[in-house]
Structures are given as C-alpha cells and as structure tokens.
C-alpha cells in the first residue's frame, strides 16, 4: 500500500505553494472583488508560464503529459491561496470534457489553446434555481446544431471565449456542446456572485451555432463532474487549511482576559473540530485522487464522498475561522470572508450537497 503522493508530486506541490505565497496573497482576490474584474490577468499569465494549465494534457496537444495526481496537489495550493483565476473552468471542466468525449479534431483544435493558457472557457449547465447537474435542460439543440435557451450561474461566463453547454438533444437526452460565444444571438449579462472574485453570467442563446462533443453520451456530464469534484475537493481542503491556520495564528496573538484567546478551551475545541472535518475531507480527497488516477470503478462513489466532505469541511472551517476572529472577522478588511465566500462558491457551482449525497446513495445502494 502506498496511499500518498510521490516525492516528485510533493515537490511540485511545495514549489506551487511557494510560488503562490509570493505571487498570490489574499490581496489578489480582494483586488478582483473590489474592481469587479473577471479575474487576475497578471496571475493568470504567470501561471500559464509555469505550464500548470497543460499539466495533465498530453504532450501531443501541447501539455506536459503529467497525470491527475499532479493536478490534485496544484488544486490544493490554488485553494489555499484563494487564486482568483479561471483555472477550474479551463482545466477541470472544459479540458476534461474534451479529454473524455472530444474527437481528435476537437482535441486538436482546443487542447493546445487550453494548455497554452490562450483562452478562457466556461461551462454552462444550470438554467433555473434548484437545477441539479442531472436535471434535463430546457435548452435545446436542433438537428443542425443550433442552440436555444438560457443558462445561469455560468462561472467565468463574462470573459469566456468558448462555452461547454449542456442541452437537450432531439432524442431528449443531455448532450454537451462546444459553443463559441462571440457570435450573434449570444448575449451575456453579469449577475453578482457570493464569491465576488469568481463572477457569474447569464447566457441567453438564441439560435446560435454549436457543435456537440463527438463522443458525448448520457453519462459524460456525470463523468466530467466526478473528475471536477475530486479536483474541487482539493481546492476546498487547501482553503480549509488556510482558514484553520489563519484562525490559530490570530487567536495565539490576540489576548482577552489576560491570556491568548487560543488558550480558551472553547476556541481550542473549535479548532480541533475544524481539523477533524478537514482531515476527513482530505482523506476522502486522497481516495478520490487514487480512484481518478487509476480509473477505478470506485470513482463515482469516491468523488461524491470527497465532494460532500469537502463542502462541509470548508463551510465549517471558513465559518468558524471567522467566528474565532470575533468582531474583526466580520469586517471587509479582514480576510476571513474571502474564504467564507469562496467556500460558498465552490460548494455550489458543481451542484450542492444534497445532489452529491444522493449520488452517494445511488452508488452505495446500486445493484440491490
């Protein structure tokens, strides 16, 4: 048994952490929030130069040809650093969709541009409040590849050049299509996001030209979300670790009643509970990483488990870090709310906890 990342992977992680500590302090996220920017272009181009976007993309498409495990450790560091960039939209979702269900022409067209960080992509699935990833879209695609409909909560939708859009095929099945957004009939409107550093858009599609992923099946979206759930879980765990560290460091310095706040049992036990939640999420994320890297049949269960634990752990860690800061935690100036907002965002955009819990049930009770 070797249930750990390799030395090489750990090295990639520590280099990433060092880079992001220097290049992506919380002020980066704050700038995007306060300037209503789409993302941090400067950080994005630096990360492109490091080759992270093509880490898991085969060399033939311009990537580094490494695997999912390398992506997992990078994700953890991006989450820790609250990086305000469309990495997940491009790499976990758009890129993965092509890997899973694109044909050679589609891959050749798009993967090199993802690997080179030359485009921003988005994924558009939800249409109404309450839609789950498995809800059948109202958005239709006609036989000749024209899309009609509206998509909401599209992360990075205001800046994206291309979108992965779920639609109802003429057979009444879900299909994923590639849609170039710079065409007539395609309107975008910004909607405020809980995580102001990760803006959302509403896309209105009126008879626009799209191209289905060539090998898309009814299972493709589920498979795609499994992969993304594991990677999101690593981002979330990275966030948990940052929030926990922030809370401990603040309460060790801050005094009340003549002693450091961190010496009070109520505060210590709060941190112990946060740590337990984080460790459980981390262990489940590891298991998801193993399942992803080894294409194990357990992936579906492992991904849902990792996601539910990570959703809960990051909410708890970001919420109680804020609480441990006392009144100052409630100010705009302190960074506590950055994690709290990011925790909301990450736990919602791939579908909320109830959806993923139901996925766990489906897997656990399958075959019975």
């Amino acid at each position: 048994m070797n249930f750990d990342f390799s030395e090489q992977q750990k090295l990639i992680q520590s280099e990433a952490r060092k880079f992001l500590r220097e290049q992506c302090p919380p002020e980066r996220m704050r700038q995007v929030m306060e300037q209503d920017a789409a993302f941090d272009d400067d950080l994005w181009s630096r990360i492109r130069d490091l080759g992270w976007m093509g880490l898991a993309i085969p060399e033939q498409y311009g990537g580094l040809g490494l695997g999912y495990l390398e992506l997992c450790v990078i994700a953890q560091e991006l989450g820790r650093a609250l990086a305000p960039i469309p990495f997940s939209s491009n790499v976990y979702l758009f890129n993965q969709a092509l890997v899973i269900a694109g044909n050679e022409a589609q891959k050749q067209r798009w993967l090199p541009r993802v690997a080179g960080g030359e485009l921003v992509a988005c994924t558009a699935v939800a249409e109404r409040v309450g839609d789950q990833p498995n809800s059948l879209p109202v958005t239709e695609i006609t036989q000749d590849g024209r899309l009609h409909g509206q998509k909401i909560a599209v992360v990075d939708g205001m800046r994206a050049e291309v979108a992965l859009v779920s639609a109802r095929s003429s057979k009444g099945e879900v299909i994923l299509c590639l849609l170039e957004l710079d065409q007539a009939g395609c309107e975008r409107a910004a909607t405020e996001s809980l995580d102001l550093s990760r803006p959302l858009a509403t896309l209105t599609l009126n008879d626009v030209k799209a191209e289905p992923l060539a090998h898309c099946t009814a299972q493709t979206l589920t498979e795609l979300y499994n992969t993304a759930a594991v990677l999101f879980a690593f981002e979330q765990v990275g966030g948990c670790e940052a929030a926990l560290k922030m809370g401990m460091s603040y309460t060790k310095q801050r005094y009340a009643f003549g002693r450091p706040v961190a010496t009070f049992q109520a505060i210590k036990h709060k941190f112990a509970d946060m740590y337990v939640a984080k460790e459980i999420a981390l262990s489940n994320a590891y298991y998801g990483a193993w399942a992803l890297a080894s294409s194990a049949p357990e992936l579906s269960l492992a991904a849902a488990t990792a996601r539910v634990s990570a959703n809960q752990a990051y909410f708890e860690c970001s919420r109680e870090n804020l609480q441990a800061h006392g009144g100052m935690g409630y100010t705009w100036e302190f960074d506590c709310h950055l994690h709290y907002r990011r925790a909301q965002h990450l736990s919602l955009v791939l579908g909320g906890t109830p959806y993923w819990k139901e996925r766990i049930n489906t897997e656990l009770l399958r075959a019975e």
């Binding site: 939800a126 789950q132 009144g327 709310h337 955009v349 909320g352």
Partner: protein, 405 residues
C-alpha cells in the same frame, strides 16, 4: 394561564392599534431588508411622529419627556408596532442604554435637559465601550481619560462597533482612568459630545458591504468633570447598569430566518417540484419551527414575569444564541438546495429577494455582535446557571501588568 390582556392593557392596545393603523406604514410583500444606516431619515421621521402622539419613551417619567407608563405598555407597543414597516427600535441604544445611565448618574438641571432632548429625538446618543483590543473582554479597554489640574478630562484612544455614530450627538464612553489598579477598578464613564474637536468617526465596511458600525477616534478630546457618570474608578459598575438596561430593553428578537424559510418552503419549487413535499426539507422545517416557537414562547414567559414586576431572565441571551447559528444554518441549507444557482446573489433571480444569499453574509455578524456565541454561553453558564468562573489570569494585578496584545 392565558394570553389575555387586563382591561387596562386591552384598552391601551386598542388605542395604539387605532393610532398605528392611521399613522404607521404597512409591510409590503416586496420589502427587502434595508441597511440600517439607510433607514436613518425614516427612523427620525417616525420617531417624531410617535413622540408627538405621546408614544415615545413610554416607560420614562413624564418630567423627562416620557409617558409615565410601565414596561408592559412598552411591550404591548412593541408587539403592535412589529406589524408595521417602521424602524421603531432605531434609537434603542440611546434611549434604552444611555437614558437610564443619565437618569441615574447626573444631577439637575443637566439631567432633565439631556433626557428631554433625548426623548424628543433632538439628540441622538450612542454607546462607546468596545475597542479593537477589547471586544469579548470589554473591561480590558485602553482608551485613556486623564484629569488635568483644572478638573477637565482628556480622552485618547479608539472605540469600535459604535452603531450609527455618524448620526449621533452624544455618547456614553467608558475609559481607563488608572492603569495602576486592577482591571475593573480603573475605569470611569463619561458623557461625550460627538461633535466636539478631537472626536472623529469613521465607518467600518462590513463583510456584507453594509456600513452601520463605526470606529471612533479620540484625540485629546476634552470632557468637563460635570460630564462624568458615576465615581472616578466607578466606571465598571456604571457600565453594568447600562448593560443591564440593554438586557431590559425588551426589543424584538434577533432575526432567526424562520419566517423566510417557512415562506420559501410554502412557495418554492426546485427542479420543477414543490419543495414542501421533500422529506428532508420537512425535517428541517419542523426542527427550526421548534426552536423558533420555543424562543417565542420564552418571550411570552418573560413578558409575564415582567408584567408581574419581575426582571427579564436569560431569554434574550437564549434567543440571540439560537438565532445566529440557526439563521446561518437555514441560509446554508437553502443555498445548497438551490444548487449552482445558489451562488447567484441577485434578488431578481434568487428566492425571497435573495434573502438567503444576504443571510449567508450577514449571519456571521449576528453570531458576533453584542457578545459572541462563546460569550453568550459563558453568560448562561456563569450568570444563569451559577457555574464557577475559570481561573482568571487578569485577577488581582494592576491593569498595566495584565498580558495583552
């Protein structure tokens, strides 16, 4: 056991019902939670209106501009006014906290002058206790007051979390007048003119982007000894009187989110299905109903105790402790049900005018303001249940020797 008014109470209730119907603004369906600071002008107009009709400061003596009635009348008023969209509690800190301190600690003619102006809403008051380094541990505050040979005091330091300070004319400020004695003994309380030189108010931007609270900086602000409230070194006792009045100020319960959640369950559809039929939602509805109902029934018990001449108990602390976490849990649960679209913070798209998105961002504040959850549990444990204090690291030594940051 009944919910009936006495004949006198019933008559008073009828009278104010009739008056409110004529004068107060009804609630509307589309109402959104407005920032407190945005309601200042409305609050002031409403106050003047009710004062003119004789309904301000119901339980204050008439000589100070009150109506000379009892806490019960105030409670009846609170119940009735709650049906309208008026910011009736807006000036509660001045009236409920500062007022009684002025009544208790000042002499005539200053007393009547200050109270009458406060009762008439000519002066608005704030309370200046918390500091950046003294939140949960208020008595650890450092803002200094030094007396000059002419008897005047000079105040230096910084206060924080002062509600509505930008609109205030006067404040009650707690200062450290002696650092060489123990923590609770070296405090002195003063009235301060918020418009005078050396007092600077700066708004605090909250994480939900509201700006109701302020920082207040004192830079050699001079206060005459006549404005001292209580003895030199008697500030803590004076502060306890103010805080007890805070507890006495029987205001509406802290918002716990139940009404909004109930409305959501009644009306919302998710993924094309009414969520009222979802067993998990029903489980939560029942759970939160029990807490909401229990807190409400607790207030009825308190109301009865006060009507019988007793003092309010721990009901306020329980209500606040329950409300903060519950409201946050409700917001989280509801957003998760909404799926990806839960991340959209837009009243045109999200249910209940984005109440739950607003709430996820403001509920952390409920769990902190007026005492954190942890401090509430300390209060319940020590003051209600009588459990012993922890060993104190700040006991029996001079304030200046207490470890601090």
């Amino acid at each position: 056991m009944d919910f009936k008014d006495t004949p006198e109470q019933a008559q008073f209730r009828e009278q104010i019902r009739a008056w409110l119907k004529e004068n107060a603004q009804p609630k509307t369906e589309t109402e959104t939670v407005r920032e407190l600071s945005a309601r200042y002008q409305q609050a002031r107009a409403w106050y003047k209106k009710k004062a003119a009709a004789g309904y301000a400061c119901l339980e204050w003596p008439k000589k100070y501009g009150g109506a000379g009635l009892t806490p019960i009348h105030k409670l009846i008023w609170s119940q009735e006014v709650a049906h309208y969209d008026e910011p009736d509690d807006y000036f509660v800190i001045g009236l409920g906290n500062c007022g009684p301190a002025i009544m208790h600690f000042t002499e005539e003619p200053l007393r009547s002058k200050l109270l009458q102006r406060m009762a008439a809403n000519e002066d608005v008051w704030c309370q200046l206790f918390s500091e950046p380094g003294a939140g949960s541990d208020v008595a650890g505050l450092k803002t200094s007051a030094k007396q000059a040979d002419n008897g005047e005091w000079r105040i230096n330091g910084q206060k924080i979390w002062t509600s509505g300070a930008a609109h205030c004319d006067y404040g009650v400020v707690l200062c450290r007048s002696d650092t060489t004695v123990s923590k609770y003994k070296g405090l002195t309380m003063f009235i301060i003119d918020m418009r005078q030189p050396g007092v600077e108010v700066r708004p605090i931007k909250q994480m939900d982007r509201g700006q109701h609270f302020n920082e207040v900086f004192f830079n050699d602000a001079v206060v005459s000894d006549q404005y001292r409230l209580g003895a030199v070194g008697g500030g803590w006792e004076a502060a306890l009187l103010v805080l007890m009045n805070e507890r006495m100020a029987i205001t509406a319960a802290v918002p716990n989110g139940f009404a909004e959640f109930f409305e959501f369950v009644r009306s919302a559809e998710l993924d094309g299905k009414p969520i009222r039929n979802h067993p998990l939602v029903r489980d939560r509805l029942a759970e939160w109903h029990c807490m909401d109902a229990g807190v409400r029934a607790g207030f009825y018990r308190m109301f009865t105790a006060v009507a019988q001449g007793g003092m309010p108990g721990a009901e306020g602390a329980i209500g606040k402790l329950v409300a903060g976490k519950m409201n946050q849990d409700i917001a989280q649960f509801t957003l998760q049900l909404m799926g990806a679209a839960g991340a959209i913070h837009d009243p045109k798209i999200a249910h209940e005018n984005a109440y739950f998105q607003d709430a996820i961002l403001y509920t952390p504040g409920i769990r902190l303001a007026g005492g954190t959850d942890e401090i509430m549990r300390n209060i319940i444990a020590e003051q209600v249940l009588g459990l012993p204090q922890e060993p104190r690291a700040d006991k029996g030594i001079a304030f200046e020797d207490i470890p601090s940051n």
